[in-house]
């Protein structure tokens, strides 16, 4: 989980900086910190990546931590980390389940799940069978990674 978040952060922070979207870049770094907290720790290499991502924003503390951790030279002379596109995708996603356009529940599915299976999973999500009871399904829509909408009368 943390590995995927790191790769996503490398991509997101790098792209945001050159578009001057500094606020969203910082928000990404803040949620990364929360994930690290939740995970209970990081490897030295993961920490190295985190420092590099934070460095343009907070140059002093990152230089200090870089030195304390025993990395070489100044962080200012280091290289921006490289991300793996494949690792930027989540294995699982939580999607919304709508009945007639209203959100009635949520379900976690595999990110690469096909449409029919996603819809099947949505129908079994907590609270959804009750919503569908006694109705005829007219239409089912799957927006990949986002939501399933079931139109029923």
């Amino acid at each position: 989980m943390l590995e995927s978040s790191l790769h996503k952060a490398i991509k997101k922070v790098g792209e945001d900086i050159v578009q001057l979207k500094m606020n969203t870049a910082i928000a990404t770094l803040m949620s990364l910190i929360n994930e690290i907290d939740a995970a209970g720790g990081v490897t030295k290499d993961e920490f190295r990546i985190f420092l590099l991502l934070l460095n343009p924003f907070a140059p002093h503390i990152t230089e200090e931590l870089w030195e304390m951790t025993g990395f070489d030279g100044q962080i200012a002379h280091a290289a921006w980390p490289v991300y793996d596109e494949a690792k930027c995708h989540d294995a699982e996603v939580e999607i919304a389940v709508q009945v007639c356009g209203k959100v009635r529940g949520r379900v976690v599915i595999a990110a690469d799940l096909d449409g029919a299976s996603a819809i099947a999973a949505a129908k079994q999500a907590a609270g959804i069978p009750e919503q569908l009871a006694g109705k005829t399904i007219v239409k089912e829509i799957y927006v990949p990674g986002k939501l399933v909408n079931i139109v029923a009368k």
């Binding site: 001057l20 500094m22 910082i26 460095n55 924003f57 907070a58 140059p59 280091a78």
Partner: protein, 629 residues
């Protein structure tokens, strides 16, 4: 564990300084990235929390680009000529150079305390003779190429600063800096022919990546329009030329208006029966600012010239001529034709003076109001143009005017030439000499820099001459052309001069033989990313594009545009959502923030405050959130 930000931040700032960590390399084989922010005017107040927003944002970009392996140039300097320093110097009897030195030291310490990764090895100062030598050199090139000239003209005169202002420095009829009323005064001024570059300043915007609102503002400011110059006759036999974008409406012209200062008023004085009334009106107009005359007065006034008539070239009809102060002698030809059927201002004027109103484009009801939605439509009551569409009629009438010798096709601009003289001390001396025999002569380049001499008083004279005019020994010199007696120019350059080319000097700041070496200019040009304030769009940004294009034309710089990309940041507002100002008492001092929370927190907060392009209110509670992070 407590994080001692003060000790740690100082430790790293010192190490970056000692090791020149952020110095751009002179290795021209590396991929380069030139990031630029507007260098500040080192005022007595020190840095404002607004400055770091722009500086920090591009600092983050610069640091990221370094990590990406680019050879990054991110320089800083001082745009230090200008009135506030001079005014402070006058008031406290300290030399402006000393004031500047103290202010620069404070600014520099503040910028360093923010951990900005500027290349301090390339620091420049526009008031350094080794710098302004090249500002003067560029002026001489402009003069030699006919782009700098001296002209008697009616100029904006700030009654507070006692100084000539450019149009761009007059905001809502008052001085942009001090808020005093601006009046008109005729003075002999150095002018720069920026209008010669008007087309390229518009057209080349297509070749650069500027945010849309910057492009739009520059295009509107230059104000290019296509139309015709039409020659009207007069009963005195003099020809009167007017510019119009709508020659197709000529059959609807029922009167003309000329500026009260128009030369014909004096020429026809003997024929104008109400000349006293006309002259009284002219005197009243001279006391108003351009803005008051053209924008503020909702109720348009005027006086009809009794005894002289204009003649409409399309139908030979005699029409009355008025003087009115909303027409300016300095704009266009100082005379306009009025089409009350299709212009609301002309309509109101015609109603007031009981003049005929003729409909020439069908579609409205001119008994009620002017029909101004007439960009398309069909011509009526217009002789040989009747029945044609507006577009067809424009072509037909222009062809007819040209054939009859009564007009020419003409492109017009709102942009005026740049008034380039200030009657002030604290600016670059203009390196020109006046000889009775040879006229204006440039100083030989070998005599540059022409240094600012020492003066006892920094105040302009009561007549509004530069304080340099008191220095008889300095003023008296010999003509570089004939060796005879001559006088130096005592005006100095406006504060926009030094910033019009400063980004070039950063490429090679210590060069004694040129503004910068051709190799350095070739490598670093253009600036890859320039961030700055929207308020500079029609001033510094336009001026520097003009100088750069000129330098490109004479082979000094390798690109026709100085900046590949331009972005702009929103203002930082006070906690109450109002603009920060001393009078509102809501100014936040960056020093206090750095002292209390540290530079890293300050940087994060400035960047987290909201969308970069939009204005953002300061909030002390949310800076604490950034601190916890």
């Amino acid at each position: 564990m407590k994080y001692d930000f003060k000790a740690i931040e100082q430790k790293w700032q010192k190490r970056w300084d000692d090791e020149h960590t952020f110095a751009a390399k002179q290795d021209f084989s590396l991929p380069k990235f030139y990031a630029l922010v507007e260098f500040p005017y080192p005022s007595g107040q020190g840095l404002h929390v607004g400055h770091p927003r722009s500086y920090t944002a591009l600092d983050i970009v610069a640091r990221k680009k370094r990590l990406d392996g680019y050879n990054v140039l991110y320089p800083m300097g001082w745009d230090a000529f200008g009135l506030p320093t001079e005014n402070f110097a006058m008031k406290n009897h300290i030399h402006p150079e000393v004031v500047t030195k103290n202010n620069v030291a404070r600014f520099k310490a503040q910028l360093k305390s923010l951990g900005l990764s500027f290349d301090w090895d390339r620091e420049i100062n526009t008031t350094d003779p080794e710098y302004y030598k090249w500002t003067q050199w560029i002026f001489l090139q402009l003069f030699k190429h006919g782009l700098a000239y001296k002209k008697e003209m009616s100029v904006n005169w700030c009654t507070g600063c006692k100084v000539v202002l450019a149009n761009e420095e007059v905001v809502n009829g008052v001085c942009e800096r001090c808020g005093s009323p601006v009046v008109h005064k005729v003075k002999s001024q150095w002018m720069l022919r920026i209008t010669a570059y008007a087309d390229r300043l518009i057209d080349d915007l297509d070749t650069v990546d500027f945010i849309e609102r910057v492009k739009t503002q520059q295009i509107n400011w230059i104000g290019r329009s296509h139309g015709a110059e039409v020659t009207f006759g007069t009963t005195e036999g003099d020809e009167m030329i007017v510019y119009t974008t709508r020659p197709d409406t000529l059959f609807g012209v029922t009167y003309m208006v000329i500026a009260p200062e128009h030369e014909f008023v004096d020429k026809w004085a003997g024929k104008i029966k109400n000349i006293d009334e006309v002259r009284a009106y002219r005197e009243a107009a001279a006391r108003k600012s351009e803005f008051e005359r053209t924008e503020l007065a909702k109720d348009k006034t005027g006086v009809k010239l009794d005894g002289v008539w204009g003649i409409n070239p399309v139908n030979g009809q005699q029409i009355p001529i008025f003087v009115s102060d909303y027409v300016l002698a300095t704009y266009g030809t100082g005379a306009i034709m009025a089409v009350p059927g299709h212009d609301q201002r002309d309509y109101d004027f015609a109603k007031k003076f009981d003049l005929p109103i003729i409909e020439v484009v069908a579609g409205g009801d001119i008994s009620k109001e002017a029909f101004t939605d007439c960009a398309t439509g069909m011509l009526v009551n217009s002789g040989f143009l009747t029945g044609k569409t507006v577009d067809e009629a424009k072509v037909a009438i222009t062809d007819w005017l040209v054939k009859e010798g009564k007009g020419v096709k003409k492109v017009n601009y709102k942009l005026r030439d740049w008034v380039f003289s200030r009657q002030r001390y604290w600016g670059e001396p203009i390196p020109m000499v006046y000889c009775e025999k040879c006229g204006w002569q440039p100083l030989p380049e070998s005599e540059l820099p022409l240094r600012l001499p020492e003066v006892a008083h920094y105040e302009p004279t009561e007549e509004g001459e530069s304080p340099l005019a008191h220095l008889t020994d300095w003023v008296r010199t010999t003509c570089p052309c004939c060796g005879g007696e001559a006088k130096r120019e005592t005006d100095t350059m406006p504060q926009w001069a030094g910033s019009s080319w400063y980004f070039l000097r950063y490429c090679d700041p210590h060069n004694n033989n040129a503004i910068a070496s051709p190799e350095a200019l070739k490598y670093w040009s253009p600036v890859d990313w320039y961030n700055g304030g929207m308020e500079h769009t029609t001033l510094h940004l336009l001026y520097s594009r003009f100088w750069h294009k000129f330098l490109y034309d004479i082979g000094v710089v390798p690109t026709s545009e100085p900046y590949a990309k331009r972005t702009s940041h929103g203002m930082i507002l006070g906690e109450n959502g109002e603009k920060m100002s001393k009078s509102r008492g809501n100014v936040v001092n960056p020093d206090d923030i750095v002292r209390t929370y540290g530079a890293d927190t300050m940087r994060l907060y400035e960047m987290f405050i909201g969308d970069f392009e939009k204005a953002a209110p300061w909030s002390s509670s949310s800076i604490k959130g950034c601190k916890r992070f």
